[in-house]
Symmetry: C2
C-alpha cells in the first residue's frame, strides 16, 4: 500500500426533503450573497429552483441566478460566472444540478479570487490556493463531483477537455435527495451508472499490491451499483435503489476507493476526446471505451481481470484463465447494453475515419501518454479506439 493523505470535509445531507435545509446550511457557513448556478431548465420545470429560492428568502439570503450550463460544461460559462460573481460581490456559489453544473461552479469558484485567466489552472500553469465555497443540491447521481476534488471543463476554442484535481474543489456541503432522481430519464440514469462504475474501475485496475481493503471496497461499490441499476431500470421510482445509487456515486469518486493505490484513468482520457469532439454524453462514451480498453490491456494483467470476472460478474472460473477474463469483459459490455447504453462508435455517431482527429487531440491533452496499469502511447490508443469501432451489441 502506498502512503496517502485524505481529507473529505464536505458535509453530506442525504435523504428525503433535504433540499429544504439549504438556507440553514448556507446561513451556518455565513453566506452573504449567493450565486445560484444551474443547467438547462429542468430544475425550473420541476419546481426545485423555486423551492430553493423560497428557502433562501426565508433565511434572508441574497442571491443572483446564472443558468444555462450545458452537458460537457465550457469555459465561456465559467468566464461569465467569474465576471458576474465579481460584479455582484458573490461570496458563495450554490450549484443545483449534476456534474456539469457542479464542475462549472467549482471552476468559477477558483477563478473569482484569481486575477489571471482561470484556464491556467486547467493547463497546470498555476495551482489553486483559494476559492469561493461551493454548496451543491445534487439532481443527477453520476459524476461524483458533489464529493470529489475534480472539475472537468472544455475550452470551446480547440475543443480541449481538461480535468483538474484540487482539494479546493471539494464542496462545503452537498444536499442529496434521492427522490429528486426518480424522474430522471432512463438514458441519463444509465449514463450516470456507467460513470460511477468507471470511477471505481479506474481505481480498481491497479498495479499496487497489498491493498485488500480498497480492493474489497471497490468490489462492494461495483456489486451494489450493478444490483441497484437493474432495479431502477425496471422500477425507476424505487427510492431505496435510487438512494443506494446516489450515495454510491459519491463514494465512487470522493477518493476512498483509491487510497494507497496507483490509479489508471486511461479510459477517462480516451473518453474525454469523444465528448469534447462529438458531444457524446460522458457516461455513454465510457460504456463504449471501458470494454475496449479492458480487452486491450487484460492479456497482460490476467489475475486482476480474472478476479473482476469472478467477483463482479459472477463468472464461474474456467480452467482457461483467459477465457474467464474475456467472459468478464463481455459481461460488462452486455450489462451496459442491457441498461440501454451504446458500446461502439457507430452508436454514438463516431466514424472510424474520425480516429485520426481523436488521436491528434488526445496527444495534445495527454502529452502522448496515458494510463498506469498499462502505460499507453498513441499507437496503443489508436488500437483501443479501433477496438471500440468493432464492439457488437450482441
Amino acid at each position: 500500500m502506498n502512503n496517502f493523505s485524505f481529507c473529505s470535509p464536505t458535509e453530506f445531507v442525504f435523504g428525503k426533503n433535504t433540499e429544504l435545509q439549504c438556507g440553514k446550511l448556507l446561513k451556518k457557513r455565513g453566506a452573504g450573497k449567493v450565486l445560484i448556478h444551474y443547467g438547462q431548465g429542468s430544475v425550473v420545470r420541476s419546481g426545485l429552483l423555486d423551492r430553493i429560492t423560497s428557502c433562501l428568502q426565508d433565511h434572508f439570503i441574497e442571491y443572483v441566478m446564472l443558468g444555462g450550463v450545458q452537458p460537457n460544461p465550457t469555459d465561456d460559462m465559467v468566464y461569465r460566472g467569474i465576471d458576474l460573481c465579481r460584479e455582484k460581490h458573490i461570496d458563495f456559489i450554490l450549484a443545483i444540478g449534476g456534474g456539469s453544473v457542479i464542475d462549472s461552479a467549482k471552476a468559477i469558484a477558483a477563478g473569482v479570487p484569481y486575477m489571471g485567466d482561470f484556464w491556467n489552472f486547467f493547463e497546470d500553469k498555476v495551482t489553486i490556493n483559494k476559492a469561493l465555497p461551493v454548496g451543491v443540491v445534487l439532481t443527477i447521481p453520476a459524476a461524483g463531483s458533489e464529493g470529489s476534488v475534480s472539475s472537468v471543463i472544455t475550452k470551446k476554442d480547440g475543443k480541449l477537455k481538461r480535468s483538474l484535481w484540487s482539494q479546493f474543489f471539494r464542496p462545503a456541503f452537498a444536499i442529496m435527495n434521492p427522490a429528486l432522481t426518480c424522474t430522471l430519464p432512463s438514458f441519463q440514469t444509465a449514463c450516470g451508472i456507467a460513470d460511477m462504475m468507471a470511477h471505481v474501475m479506474e481505481r480498481y485496475f491497479s498495479r499496487t499490491s497489498g491493498v485488500s481493503l480498497t480492493d474489497h471496497l471497490c468490489e462492494a461499490l461495483l456489486q451494489t451499483i450493478i444490483q441497484e441499476a437493474k432495479v431502477v431500470m425496471s422500477d425507476p421510482e424505487n427510492y431505496a435503489a435510487r438512494a443506494n445509487l446516489m450515495w454510491a456515486g459519491t463514494l465512487a469518486h470522493n477518493g476512498i476507493c483509491g487510497l494507497g493505490r496507483e490509479e489508471d484513468w486511461a479510459t477517462h482520457k480516451l473518453e474525454h476526446e469523444l465528448s469534447a469532439l462529438y458531444d457524446v454524453a460522458h457516461g455513454a462514451g465510457l460504456a463504449v471505451m471501458f470494454p475496449a480498453w479492458a480487452r486491450y490491456v487484460a492479456g497482460a494483467h490476467l489475475d486482476i481481470f480474472e478476479k473482476f470476472a469472478i467477483k463482479i460478474w459472477n463468472i464461474q472460473p474456467l480452467g482457461d484463465k483467459k477465457a474467464t477474463v474475456l467472459q468478464g469483459i463481455r459481461a460488462m459490455k452486455d450489462f451496459f447494453v442491457s441498461i440501454g447504453l451504446p458500446v461502439n462508435f457507430e452508436q454514438i455517431g463516431v466514424r472510424p475515419d474520425d480516429i485520426d482527429e481523436l488521436i491528434a487531440h488526445l496527444e495534445i491533452n495527454t502529452g502522448g501518454s496515458l494510463g498506469a496499469l498499462m502505460k499507453l502511447n498513441m499507437a496503443d490508443a489508436r488500437r483501443i479506439y479501433t477496438l471500440a469501432t468493432q464492439q457488437t451489441i450482441e
Copy 2:
C-alpha cells in the same frame, strides 16, 4: 434507507514515516502551545515521543507533556488535563497512542472551554458546542477514535463507563504509520481486531431495509479484517496487512458503515460493564460478548444472520437456515479463539455470581434498555451474560 448527515473533516496522513509531518500539520492549523497526551510509556521506550518532540521543536512549537493515560481511561486524568491546559494556555492537544489516549484527549478538549464539570457531557446533561482541536498520532489500530465522533470515559467513583458521540470529537488530523504497529503484542493486536469488527457488526445487524450499499461496505470491511488478521497473527511485521488493518479500523468507526441505518450497540454496552468493573481489555470483552449476543438474538433475525454466516464466514448454506446461522456464529467464536482472544467469563476472570453486579451497573448506565435489532431489557441482558459464562473454547 434513512436520512442522514455525514461530515468527516479529519485529515488522514497515512503511511511510512508520516509521524515526521506532525510539526507541519500543527503549524498549518496555527497551533501555538500543544498538550502532548500519551499513555504508559511505550511511546517513550520506542523513541516515538522523542521523534515527535524533535519535530515540534524544529517547527518552533511549544508543548507541555501529560502521560499516564491507562486503558479504559478515567475521569481523574481528564480533570488533570483540563487544569493543565487552562494553566498553560494550551490551544491544541496532540494525542499519541491508541483509543484510550485519544478518548482522554477528546474529553479534555471539550472540557477546557466549558466552565462546568466535563462529566455533564457524558451524562447528557449538556451538549458540547466548542472544543480545542485534537491531533492524533495513532499507535494502536482498534477503537477508531482517530476518525470517530466517539469518546468513552470511566468515572472512577461508581465505575460508570460512558460513551459520548459529538461532531466536536472528530480529530483535526490523524497521522497513521502502520509500521509503528508491527511491534504490538499479539494480544493487543487481537483485541484491536475484535474491536474494529464489533464496530462494523454493531452497524451491520440492523432492521433498516434498502441499504445494500452499506451492507456491502460492512461485508467488505469484515472480510478484509478477518483476512488480514490471519496474516498478522502469523507474520506480525507484514506491513501491508498492518496497513489494511489500520485503515480498516478507521473506516469501521468513522461512520460510513452505518449511514442511513439504525445501529445496534447492545454488545458494546454489555461489554462496557465488563471493562468498567473488571478492567478487562475492551476488545477481549467484545470477543466474549458478541457471540453470546448473537446466539441470543439470531433466532428472531435468521435472514441477516444467515447472510452473515455465508458472506463473512463462508458457511455453505444448509437446508436448515437455523443450522447455517449457528454455524456462522460458531465460526465467529472460533475465529476469536484462533487469534488468542477469550470467549467466556471464566477466561476474563468474571464469575457467574458477578452477573448481579453487572446488571445493576448496566441498568444505571442504560436506563434499563439497550439494543435496536432486538430491544433488550435487563432480563434479556442477564440471559446474554449467562450465555457468555457457558461458551466453550472448542
